[in-house]
């Protein structure tokens, strides 16, 4: 620690350069934070909570509805513990750009199926007794300022009402939170019966089923049994684990996510390269001084340590500052206005970032430090 003033005064000597280097490292790590958040947002890093859940849809495509009569048949398949259905509503709140997913469900079994949606008990009870009641996730509630008790009109794009109207009224009776940060809280859920009674057509149809299996290790076998149950019927199904479904979804988004991540990674390392070069250069310029230090009796090791301390201090300061700013900016919301269901930096990536910033200090300091250590005193003093 006693060398701290020496390290600091070295950094202070060209303040502007130090500041600029520090800032570019900071920017690199802000980018790093966004990289992590985008990866999570595009689904590549989604940690699926329910390894015991299967997703059952029409074999032709997810947009084809299934008969509600399948519910009981699915429940009877061996290995199935519980099953629920969901139906896509696809309503517009005020304007098309205010998109958030809306799903019709049976509230009670639905909440049992998704323990990661945390809803206060009294709000749950209120939902069970309110026919046009709906619950909405925290992120969407915050986005539009929805509060419990609000009446939300949604304009149907698919489900025209029996009376010919397209406006559906919902009362917000609850706002749920996610059990952890990776939980998607952008969705809006309401009573299936409300939809079923009100809609002009499509009666008796649901969008897809979600199934909980007794034993997650047998999920694949149960999925096969469900597929077989409906084989050769007019509406064949495809059952797969929720994880497989989501990874298929990520593949649908496809190369774009991959390319954006590749680009960001390239940028991150480019900035680090440039910053590292500056650090190395500033040590090179002080060859003579290092010689003086050695002449004063500093050991090779001490000189090595000094150089490393300087580069690490710079990179860690920039790195931690950048990660901190990234966390702040990212917690303020995603830049696309709601196109990404979740947007946050996972704890794991913060640790990675911290490790990279220390690593950067060591790597950029390595060659200058080695050179400083091997420096011949007489040689260096001549270099004026």
């Amino acid at each position: 620690m006693k060398y701290a003033p020496l390290v600091l005064s070295n950094l202070r000597r060209k303040r502007l350069r130090t500041a600029l280097t520090l800032l570019s490292i900071t920017v690199a790590f802000i980018l790093f934070g966004y990289l992590a958040a985008i990866r999570v947002g595009l689904g590549a890093g989604v940690q699926v909570a329910g390894a015991d859940r299967l997703f059952v849809r029409h074999r032709v495509s997810i947009a084809q509805p299934l008969p509600i009569s399948y519910l009981d048949r699915i429940k009877r398949v061996p290995g199935v513990r519980a099953a629920i259905h969901q139906s896509w509503f696809g309503g517009i709140y005020q304007e098309a750009k205010n998109f958030f997913p809306q799903m019709a469900v049976d509230p009670e079994p639905f909440l049992e199926m998704y323990p990661e949606f945390i809803l206060p008990e009294e709000q749950k009870l209120a939902w069970l007794r309110t026919r046009n009641g709906a619950i909405v996730g925290r992120s969407t509630a915050n986005r539009f300022g929805f509060k419990v008790g609000d009446h939300i009109p949604l304009q149907a794009t698919i489900w025209r009402r029996q009376d010919g109207g397209v406006m559906w009224d919902f009362e917000i009776v609850g706002i749920y939170d996610g059990a952890d940060r990776g939980t998607d809280t952008s969705q809006f859920f309401f009573w299936y019966e409300y939809l079923e009674e009100g809609r002009a057509f499509g009666k008796g149809l649901v969008g897809w089923y979600v199934v909980k299996v007794d034993n997650p290790e047998q999920a694949a076998e149960v999925a096969k049994l469900i597929d077989d149950e409906f084989l050769n019927s007019s509406d064949e199904v495809k059952a797969e684990t929720e994880r497989a479904f989501i990874s298929g979804w990520v593949n649908q988004i496809g190369d774009i996510g991959l390319i954006m991540r590749a680009i960001l990674t390239a940028v991150f390392f480019t900035i680090l390269l440039v910053a590292g070069n500056t650090i190395a250069q500033s040590v090179r310029e002080r060859t003579q001084e290092l010689g003086v230090l050695k002449a004063l009796g500093f050991t090779n090791r001490q000189v090595l340590f000094l150089v490393f301390a300087e580069s690490c201090m710079l990179s860690c300061l920039g790195g931690f500052l950048g990660l901190g700013i990234a966390l702040l900016l990212i917690s303020a919301g995603d830049p696309t206005g709601g196109a990404l269901p979740v947007f946050y930096v996972p704890a794991r990536d913060i640790v990675y970032g911290a490790c990279i910033s220390v690593g950067l200090g060591l790597v950029t300091g390595f060659f200058p430090a080695l050179r400083a250590m091997r420096l011949e005193i007489a040689e260096s003093l001549r270099q004026a």
Binding site: R17, L23, A63, I263, V267, I271
Partner: protein
């Protein structure tokens, strides 16, 4: 009056030549700055080319004299519904182009089917469109590149070349099984890179039967007499009390359809490019400050010889912008060769189906990149230039 100006510029020319000719002596730092700016421009263009390419694929698909009619309230063909009777009423409306071959109007169905998407072969939503024969006249950039068109009434499909490339099971002569129906792939078609290339087409009647749709459709596509005929066409449909439909120009429809993906990509892309730009400004500042401080004595000498502060500062700016331009040019070329024409497929959130497209680094985008680079060079050179202009001459001359 003119003399001081000429004088100013000749001073600038000398100072600038002096600065630029000494770049090789500082090649490490200069290259780092140019390289950094090049990287920024490459990434800037790379991300924007995704949004641009996506939008272009949809823009090529639309023409201003084509209208699409859906049920009132529907925002995509997926959720629209039109009865056969309504489709007939729409086809009779004024403003539609009519030639010897008949009216240029096609009542269509639009469904999505699951097909394995390369390279991981997980299921993806691929659009399957049922069309009438006039569809080929309306979308006049459709070309059959292999095989032939489907025959009306038969279980045959033709696949867009984009769809055939991205999804498994669409090879010529292969069998496509959807639910309990089997279709034969009898042809592949291109559409100048536009949206239809992502789709599979079949006869509307065949698709109606397969999906038990009776005599119903989801949209009516009509080629009008001219772009101006749209108003007449739309007004006629709005005035018909038997219809409750939404009429939208095809170009507007596709522009709207590309909104979510375009905003997502350009939103993220702009943030990234903005942050990187800040990083690159720091890099340029560093380089130009060391360039100025490395030439302290030379600059002081120029000043002592009677050069004024303005031309000296301008010469520093010029050098910075020259480096930025060189870097930006490199970055632009890099982005062009790395990304232009890169083929990809993504989910269009709005139509809930896959769209295949090519990244597009257009000349306009390249120009944007260069302007961005020059902006970075300008900001990076400004403060060092001021320092150079204000440098005390006597002290500067004493510098080693």
């Amino acid at each position: 009056m003119l003399r001081p100006i000429i004088n100013w510029f000749s001073q600038l020319a000398i100072a600038a030549r002096f600065g630029l000719s000494t770049i090789p002596e500082r090649k490490g730092a200069s290259a780092a700055a140019a390289f950094g700016i090049g990287g920024v421009v490459a990434v800037f263009l790379g991300t924007l080319s995704i949004g641009q390419g996506f939008r272009q694929a949809l823009a090529i698909a639309g023409t201003p004299d084509t209208a699409i009619v859906m049920r009132g309230g529907a925002d995509t063909e997926m959720v629209s519904f039109l009865s056969g009777e309504h489709a007939r009423l729409i086809a009779d409306a004024p403003g539609i182009r009519r030639t010897d071959e008949g009216a240029w109007v096609s009542s269509e169905l639009f469904v999505i089917i699951s097909l394995p998407k390369r390279p991981k072969f997980t299921d993806a939503n691929v659009p399957l469109r049922g069309v009438q024969q006039a569809a080929f006249r309306i979308r006049d950039n459709i070309r059959i590149v292999a095989g032939r068109r489907f025959e009306p009434g038969r279980n045959e499909v033709i696949a867009g070349v984009g769809a055939a490339r991205e999804f498994a099971g669409l090879e010529l002569d292969s069998e496509l099984r959807v639910g309990r129906n089997t279709w034969k792939v009898v042809g592949l078609f291109s559409a100048d890179g536009g949206l239809p290339e992502s789709e599979i087409w079949t006869d509307a009647v065949v698709l109606q039967e397969a999906y038990q749709r009776g005599n119903s459709y989801q949209s009516v596509i009509a080629r009008l007499e001219s772009p101006e005929a749209f108003d007449e066409f739309a007004a006629a449909l709005a005035a018909d009390p038997r219809l409750n439909v939404k009429v939208i120009r095809q170009t507007d429809f596709y522009f709207e359809q590309s909104r979510v993906v375009y905003n997502l990509v350009t939103g993220l892309g702009s943030i990234i490019a903005g942050l990187m730009g800040v990083g690159a400004v720091f890099g340029a500042l560093n380089t130009m400050y060391s360039s100025v401080s490395g030439r302290t004595r030379e600059i002081a000498t120029l000043r002592a010889l009677g050069f004024r502060g303005g031309p000296v500062a301008a010469s520093v700016m010029l050098e910075s912008m020259f480096l930025a331009l060189a870097g930006g040019g490199m970055g632009g070329l890099l982005a062009y060769f790395a990304f232009d024409g890169f083929r990809a497929a993504t989910m269009n959130w709005q139509s809930f189906s896959q769209v295949t497209f090519s990244f597009a680094v257009s000349p306009a985008l390249m120009l944007k990149g260069l302007i961005y680079a020059i902006g970075i060079g300008f900001l990076g050179g400004l403060l060092p230039a001021i320092r150079a202009a204000r440098m005390p001459v006597a002290a500067g001359l004493r510098e080693p």
